[in-house]
């Protein structure tokens, strides 16, 4: 990795079917080089989570995913003891009569042994061996977790070490490559952001979106990919509640191909609109605007063959 540069990152991610633009590639490069977590924000469906997947595929590191949700705590994020097995162990000790002879400390020492430890994502991410490619830690939708969890995460991200009271401190031999994503349903605490590199993931421009569709859904013919990307761009301009993301563009192109359409016409567009526009009001708006107008405009943008 010593000779890594921004173009290398672009090529590496492209090898995993992820087309990063200059800004994202630079941010990823810096995250790798400076060993800082990368904080990605952006609208739903622009491919934030996919970055971590592509990174893991490219570097060969293990992908460890931590999906955040409200109320998530250390037991679900870091580690937990396998209590059922611990109880069985206690029972066994009792049955053999060892519980009476062994001291309480000895018994406790047996219970809080590594073999009863369940490693949750954060601890897994800290357990990479020095020689291997660092694991890729994806902390997904961190804005869904609550403040307490954020503070806890901050601690782990700060020194790549956690303390398990019964076992001692676990320190990462290689810090994991870390990607945090947020849909910005709320502002994440500044202190957490300060530890990270920040990148706002934009919707891709037309030509890039076409490329992305081609790479992610190779079965889609080029002409159709261009039409779909152009139509989606048109839909985004309508000012919907929930403008479609790249993921929706890919879905739409796939859906049309599955139906055996080589080109986007009014009928098939109407039938598959649900794969791009997912609110009743939004669908109404698109229909009011007129699918024919939308497609005609898209034709002009798509151009080409």
């Amino acid at each position: 990795m010593a000779s890594l540069d921004v173009d290398g990152v672009k090529a590496g991610l492209a090898g995993q079917d992820y087309l990063a633009d200059e800004g994202l590639a630079t941010a990823v490069f810096l995250a790798l080089r400076l060993q800082r977590p990368l904080f990605l924000e952006g609208d739903a469906g622009v491919g934030k989570t996919e970055v971590a997947r592509a990174l893991a595929g490219w570097t060969g590191g293990r992908l460890v995913r931590l999906q955040c949700y409200e109320g998530i705590d250390a037991a679900q994020a870091l580690y937990e003891w396998d209590h059922a097995r611990q109880l069985v162990h206690l029972r066994a000790a009792e049955a053999t009569g060892r519980a009476r002879s062994a001291s309480a400390e000895a018994l406790e020492g047996e219970l809080y042994d590594e073999r009863f430890l369940i490693r949750r994502p954060l601890l897994q991410a800290l357990s990479g061996a020095a020689g291997d490619a660092p694991p890729v830690l994806l902390v997904d939708e961190v804005d869904r977790a609550d403040d307490e969890f954020e503070a806890f995460l901050l601690e782990v991200l700060a020194d790549w070490a956690v303390t398990v009271p019964e076992l001692g401190t676990v320190r990462a031999e290689v810090p994991p490559v870390t990607v945090l994503t947020s849909n910005r349903t709320r502002d994440v605490h500044d202190a957490l952001k300060r530890r990270c590199l920040y990148h706002w993931v934009e919707q891709p421009a037309f030509e890039r979106e076409v490329e992305i569709v081609r790479v992610r859904a190779p079965e889609v013919p080029e002409a159709l990919a261009r039409q779909v990307a152009a139509a989606v761009a048109g839909i985004r301009a309508l000012g919907l509640y929930k403008p479609p993301g790249v993921a929706e563009t890919i879905d739409w192109a796939r859906a049309l191909t599955l139906l055996g359409r080589a080109a986007l016409d009014e009928r098939s567009a109407g039938a598959t609109l649900g794969s791009v526009v997912k609110y009743r009001e939004d669908q109404q708006r698109v229909r009011d605007h007129g699918l024919d107008t939308l497609l005609r405009d898209a034709e002009t943008v798509a151009g080409g063959p």
Partner: protein
């Protein structure tokens, strides 16, 4: 001078020896100063990171330098335009232009709305307070006096009264479980094993957890149009009390004008007066005209429906005068009502006995409002605190 530095550093190749910024610290410190001058808060730690980032990407490609700075110095999409300005200015050698000062000295009288309906009772604010003056203490009088009719001194005093308010939104079940001392909830294996260990390996007293409770998020939307000014200042003060009282709950405040401005950060200071001044600074259209529907739509798009208003208690302060299309307002209120736990509309004009919600905007919004309350005086804002906590 700045251009000179640019040339000097331009000679350095991309593979500057790792860890040291090529071209010296000058460009780093100078550019960060420019970014700060453009209005971005850049902590010192970020400057150091930026230096290391520059060392890593090199200086020969301007876009790399640009993105290195974006990744290390910018933390919010709103700050990107300011960063772009600073970048363009610094590397072209021009001084940074700060965005035109937003601070406005506003001295606006009653804004006559071009809404079709009449405006009952806006001008003759606060008749209720004067009768009561004979029987109640001055503080008590002030508590009931219409804020629009208060002298500046009285308003100061009213704001002081509100500093003691305790505002907390209704509770909801949390997903985070807490120990249940009565031992009746779901089994807590972790503590049960601990106890069994103490009891010689026998599980005599299983421990349990139950779901905890947390206050819901409280979202305050303040209409900052001209006629609302005295009330909006008071409600911002009220929101400040909510922020100050927060232990584990969350409060978000937004100013609704011709655009939506998040004023939550301004509310976190301990000095309410300073927080208010800062809120006034960030709201460019404080006391400007309102298109309520558009403002609400922007709020829904950028914050509300994304999550800020989900399951939250939403308080809207407005008189319902809308210069835009009432249909837009109605649709946006419906959208908000679908994600929020409860929507409370505070209309200071409601206190007037003659008031009927005739404003077209108000009429369009009302079907989607759970509670419609007045908010013209300190006492009514105290009552609002109770409504929000229900």
């Amino acid at each position: 001078m700045r251009a000179g530095r640019g040339e000097q550093s331009g000679r350095v190749g991309p593979e500057g020896s790792a860890g040291r910024p090529p071209g010296g610290e000058g460009i780093v410190v100078g550019f960060v100063a420019a970014v700060r001058a453009a209005g971005l808060p850049v902590p010192t730690g970020a400057t150091v990171t930026f230096g290391r980032a520059l060392a890593a990407v090199g200086l020969d490609r301007p876009e790399r330098v640009y993105w290195a700075g974006r990744a290390t110095l910018v933390q919010r999409p709103e700050d990107v335009p300011a960063y772009d300005r600073a970048f363009a200015a610094y590397f072209s050698g021009r001084p940074v232009e700060a965005e035109g000062s937003l601070v406005q000295t506003v001295e606006v009288g009653l804004d006559v709305p071009d809404d079709g309906a009449d405006d009952p009772g806006a001008d003759d604010g606060g008749p209720a307070g004067t009768d009561m003056a004979l029987r109640w203490s001055p503080t008590e009088v002030l508590r009931h006096k219409d804020l629009a009719a208060c002298t500046p001194e009285e308003r100061e005093e009213a704001h002081r009264l509100m500093a003691g308010l305790r505002v907390q939104a209704a509770l909801r079940k949390s997903r985070r479980r807490r120990p249940d001392p009565r031992g009746r909830g779901r089994l807590d294996p972790r503590r049960s094993v601990r106890r069994a260990l103490r009891d010689g390996g026998e599980l005599f007293r299983p421990a349990a957890t139950r779901r905890g409770e947390r206050p819901r998020r409280l979202v305050v939307l303040v209409d900052v149009s001209g006629s609302m000014e005295p009330y909006s200042r008071a409600l911002v003060r009220w929101a400040h009390a909510a922020v100050a009282a927060r232990r584990r709950g969350r409060v978000e405040a937004f100013a609704l004008g011709t655009r939506v401005t998040r004023i939550t950060p301004a509310l976190t200071s301990h000095d309410p007066d300073q927080a208010l001044r800062r809120a006034a600074d960030t709201v460019a259209d404080w006391s400007g005209g309102t298109r309520l529907g558009d403002g609400l739509r922007r709020f829904n798009d950028e914050w509300g429906v994304r999550g800020a208003a989900r399951g939250a208690v939403v308080v809207i302060l407005s008189d319902g005068w809308d210069r835009g299309d009432p249909e837009v307002l109605g649709a946006e209120m419906a959208r908000l009502g679908r994600v929020a736990h409860r929507v409370v509309w505070v209309n200071p004009l409601k206190a007037s006995p003659a008031y009927a919600p005739l404003a077209r905007g108000m009429a369009a919004a009302l079907p989607h409002v759970d509670e419609f309350v007045e908010g013209h005086s300190v006492a009514s804002l105290e009552a609002l605190a109770a409504v929000v906590g229900r």
